[in-house]
Amino acid sequence: MSAPARPGEPRPIAAPGPAVAPTRRRAGRLSRAGVRFGREAPPVSFGRIVGGYAVLGLMAVISLFPVVTIFLTGLKTDADLMNGFFSLPTVWHWENFSKAWDQGHFGSFFVNSVIVVVPVVAISLVLSTLAGFGFARWQFRGSGVLFFLLLLGLMVPFEGVIIPLYYYMKAVGLLNTYWALILPQIGMSVAFGTFWMRAFFRSAEPELLDAAAVDGANPLQALWRVMLPLAGPALVTLGVLFFAWTWNEFLLALVLVSDMSVRTLPVGLGFFVGQHAADVTLLAAAASIVCAPIIVVFVVFQRNFIRGMVSGAIKG
């Protein structure tokens, strides 16, 4: 359990801990398959298992179904559409995807999204780790106030900042540049990221830090050599979240960037919808293109990501 809350400091809501195995564990086949049991699980009836699978299966179908069908729709032609949605496309028109790519300029939007996402994720991870460590490790003057300030930032809706951000960017001439998208999103990400990493560091063993100090390491080295290697899953989770939030950012990009050459994917898709010449099939293909990267990232990191999110809820 994390240290008792210091006076005046809000208790962390979620603290992802390093993956710690429960003290008692059944080493049976099911456990090795990844199933976790409580101390002593009640006997599970066959009916319960089948029912459980049915419910989980239904859930999976409902979650995946819209995404799969939009992909399939992207492969149809207009004539196919008239056949009703249940029919599979007669011929799989992969060229719809390249058509959507060209007609919607998704090539350049894609590159722009990457140009924005990479710095935001990387820099936010670094800054959040540093700040989270700082808040966790020391009780310094003003730390309570500053941390509370950050916490407020989590809850500020976009509407609260978008107007002055627009005029501010205009005043310094950064409208329609990548910086207009990168900098505010780093600001938004570090609010959450600091919170997340602080919770993580607070749940870590203080003895490790003591040992590092005895070794003569300065705090930066302590962070680098001792804490960071343990932070893997927490960082993965944070990174995936940052990636998803930044890749999917719409309102900020809509307001701060109207120039097509800097525009990112979601805005490109958003206006593709309203274009009076858009085909339903092309639109479906375009939507598939836009969500492909985040799906890939998610699938690659899903094990750690889900574990991080889940275990983040355990500690508290």
């Binding site: 207009d78 559409l81 008239m82 058509k99 060209d102 007609q103 300029h105 350049s108 140009i115 990479v118 710095p119 994720v121 990387a122 820099i123 991870l125 670094v126 627009y166 205009k170 001439g173 950064l174 409208l175 329609n176 540049t177 990548y178 910086w179 990168i182 050599r225 960071l228 290697p229 893997g232 809509l254 307001v255 109207s258 120039d259 097509m260 050459s261 800097v262 206006f271 593709f272 309203g274 274009q275 009076h276 010449a277 858009a278 085909d279 339903v280």
Partner: protein, 476 residues
Amino acid sequence: MHLDDIRRRFARTGTLLVVGSLLVTACSGAASPTPAPSAAPSAAPSAAPSTAATPATTATPVAGGCASAATTPITLMEWDQEVREGIGPVIDQLNSEFMAANPGVTIVRQAKSFDDLKATVKLALADPNGPDVAQVNQGRPDMGAAVQAGLLLPLTSYATTYGWDKRWGAGVLARNSFSDDGKQFGTGSLYGVSITGEIVGLFYNKDKYQQLGLTIPKTFGEFEQQLATIKSKGEVPIAFGALDGDALQIYGSILETMVTPQWLNDWIYGRNNQSFNTTETKAAAAELVKLSDDGDFTKGYAGIGYDDSAKLFEAGKGVYFWTGSWEGATLTGAAGEKFGFIRVPPQTAGGTSLSIGGVGLPWSIRKTAKNPDCAAAYLDFLTSDHAMQLVAKLGVLPGHSAPNATGSSALFNEMAAAFADANSKDEVGHYLDWAFPTGWDTFKAQLAKLLAKQASPDQFVQPIDKEYQTFTASLK
């Protein structure tokens, strides 16, 4: 050992990530990206009919306006919403011809959708790095607001120089005019010139006409009877989707068969204290509801978008498609000679009846443009006779008559005939949302309520009138 391995791996990936991102930031964020000239995204995917058949007049090099480009290169950035199949390639061609005729001038084009442009153009015109030339929709919401905010350059002096007052009639020029403080509409300085012409009417499916034994209706009453006949034969009378706000065109069309030109001009331009709460506005509202109640629209139209309704019409799921001539190029491309176009018939045979229309989205010059003379020369070229010929060839109505500006399809000829008919009788009406800044949103919301029976015709007109009165009062 194990821990060290992990640490090493982290060090590597971590450094890679940070260095990589710094590199990316450095390379990309160093300067705001300048769009590459002539590699500007051009819009229409389908092969545009080749305009190799040389038109009667060739592009005349424009003297004066861009002469300075010979010494110091000029770049003009233009934003337009010609992404539909018809006119996009025309703009590209005109741009390259202009560049060829004016060495030193580079035109950078950004083509966006109508919604996109509408949402972003005012912001962009206020941005010092924004476009020099842009299409700004007529009416209070867009052009009026832009003029009031001091974003647009008055073009009256250029109109005299280039003879634009000969090209278009006074009525047309008035649509693109505002007083310099933006308060008066339909008078004052010219702020934009249009390339295309527009008229709202009824596209009809010729095959269905034959099948069902229909002929062109001469009166609105005949039209309504036709709808009943079509319905009884199991066909969809009017392909329609209201989700994107296009109920406004239908409502406006109906209204404008009932009002006088004087009233309409007064109301749109904010003169003589006209009210929107009149017998005609309510009668038109009632008529719209009647069409819906009689089942004359596509089933579920409230949730169908504009593109979907167009697709339905093309696929034969609707005898009529009630929209503007801008759809003509797409319909020509899609199914050849299957479709025709007529004006919305008058209430009484041979009576006066306005059709919504006029000229298409005008092109304006930003007030702080660095090379206004060159921009004006560009606008002149875009609206020249030569341009009109190109536009017509692709099945889009040209903004003014020009020699040899004829189209190749029957559909185009029908649209042109309808347009000419309305113009000759001085029966070209207005888009209702022009009248006040929140026009588009208010009409869209109110029409949705009207059609959903959430508001009676009385309740429909009152909020619109209230918004209108509040606005006109603020102008005094």
